[in-house]
Symmetry: C2
Subunit: 293 residues, 2 copies
């Protein structure tokens, strides 16, 4: 009896998560090769840290000029040898030039053209948007487009600040973000940032290398002199690496029936463990599946 | 021009967060001593790790029998020398007896009485509940009670799985959680767990010591043999320590005008940086302020 209770406690939340995984897992097990896509190498960014590779899919559909400049920065070697400069708990990891506000800032290559604020884009009926059926606090409708969480109203659509999303730090001016400082969300979704700053992609693999970094001791989580900033070995586009140095990944298509079934498996938890199967889900709790083929 | 852009990029998201802090900060600066409360020492748990103290406020209003047993476990020294056994990215940190599912489990003291599932409690009109005005995906109404995020319907009220909340791991049986294995949410709120498992408190200080732990290499984030489980030096109630070993903390009262003003400062971002002041907020994005007096 006592050992049952202890065993129960050990299985505990594990049972919960396992049950979830099983149900969603069944949906994915039944998937066919065509349900998955390989992100374009031109849209795949490798952030190389001492702890390994973080893989990011860029979203030129939403931030074309910003992504073009991030590609240019990566190809010029701009990021190589820079560092993670900020880790604020339940908020963001941010990287860039530690000297950027001092006198010895590394020069950025000139952008091909002015980079506008790319916070939202026009809504068009033909977009491959899969809506969620449930109410959202922040937007009239939420859903997924090309693998990214998004929200929309009658006129505009925008990417949303879910866990793992990549954003473009900016100053006071809306168009002041070039992509030379980037951040990733490592906490509860700060959805109030939606439509206020450019989102440019999503981490597909390696989130734990960012989310488990020591928090910065300074205001807003900036690293202080008593801390070592984790160095960035390099940032490269997969397209610029030989095939054998790329990491093959597949992302579940978000415009097909398989993903709709996956959403349903996450919305309603029919496993025995759940007394309340919930029957609804919020945008940032779905998570678009990624696998190694 | 270029250096302006670089500077802009550096200030970047920092400006965003600073602006938020200023606005919410003004509300808190105008607070009076009576706007704050000191959690009862009997409800304050100190989780001592090698990295320092994590401070948790217990919620006996919602989980009376579970909290009584957590107190008993702490007082018996049950947790001392056990370990963090699981860190799953964007989900939970969990601690307890690493041997609990083996043959050498540490015996738990017998509970004073059977511990029921304490997932929800009856809604009563007189409860000090401060509602949020905005729609929520998961519940008819959300808000705050005694410093904790909560949700309700016409009949019941329950604590919600926001970042930093403390939960009681359980097995398949709803009443199988004793408090000997506890978890803390370290990612986007898994609100589908609401009403499915007992929540028993909230971390007031030291979250970063949990959230930055290395993720477990095993399924569901359990630590594997190649990893070192972070040891638990002890878990104690503040009430059982001499005054000079306690950490003084104050929590903003959630039943007063000051907290309502704070919610409004977080709902509508009137600072210049925000192009869209949002004008709404989701339960887990408010955060109940804690300070050192």
């Amino acid at each position: 009896m006592k050992s049952d209770r202890i065993l129960g406690a050990v299985l505990a939340l594990a049972v919960s998560a396992a049950a979830q995984a099983a149900s969603s897992g069944e949906v994915l097990e039944r998937s066919k090769p065509g349900d998955w896509r390989r992100p374009a190498p031109e849209n795949t960014l490798y952030l190389e840290l001492d702890s390994g590779r973080v893989i990011i899919e860029l979203a030129p559909q939403f931030a074309p000029e910003t992504v073009a400049n991030i590609r240019k920065l990566a190809r010029s070697g701009y990021f190589d040898g820079l560092a993670i400069i900020r880790v604020q708990d339940n908020y963001v990891v941010q990287w860039g030039d530690p000297q950027a506000d001092g006198g010895e800032a590394r020069p950025e290559p000139e952008p091909e053209q002015a980079i506008p604020a790319e916070f939202t884009r026009e809504w068009e009926a033909g977009l491959p948007f899969t809506p969620l059926p449930d109410a959202d606090t922040y937007a009239p409708q939420t859903g997924y487009i090309d693998g990214f969480p998004a929200a929309r109203n009658d006129r505009r659509i925008w990417l949303s600040h879910c866990y793992g999303m990549l954003g473009v730090a900016r100053g006071q001016a809306p168009d002041s973000g070039t992509g030379s400082q980037l951040y990733v969300i490592i906490g509860h979704a700060p959805r109030h940032l939606d439509r206020n700053i450019t989102l440019a992609g999503r981490v597909l693999q390696g989130m734990e290398q960012l989310s488990s970094l020591p928090r910065g001791h300074g205001p807003l989580g900036f690293y202080e002199a008593d801390q070592t900033m984790p160095p960035i070995r390099s940032i490269r586009l997969a397209a610029d690496l030989p095939e054998d140095q790329r990491t093959p990944l597949e992302v579940l298509r978000t415009d097909g029936a398989r993903f709709k079934a996956y959403i349903e498996s996450r919305r309603s938890r029919e496993e025995d463990w759940f007394l309340e199967p919930t029957g609804r889900i919020e945008l940032c709790n779905v998570g678009v599946p990624v696998r190694t083929p």
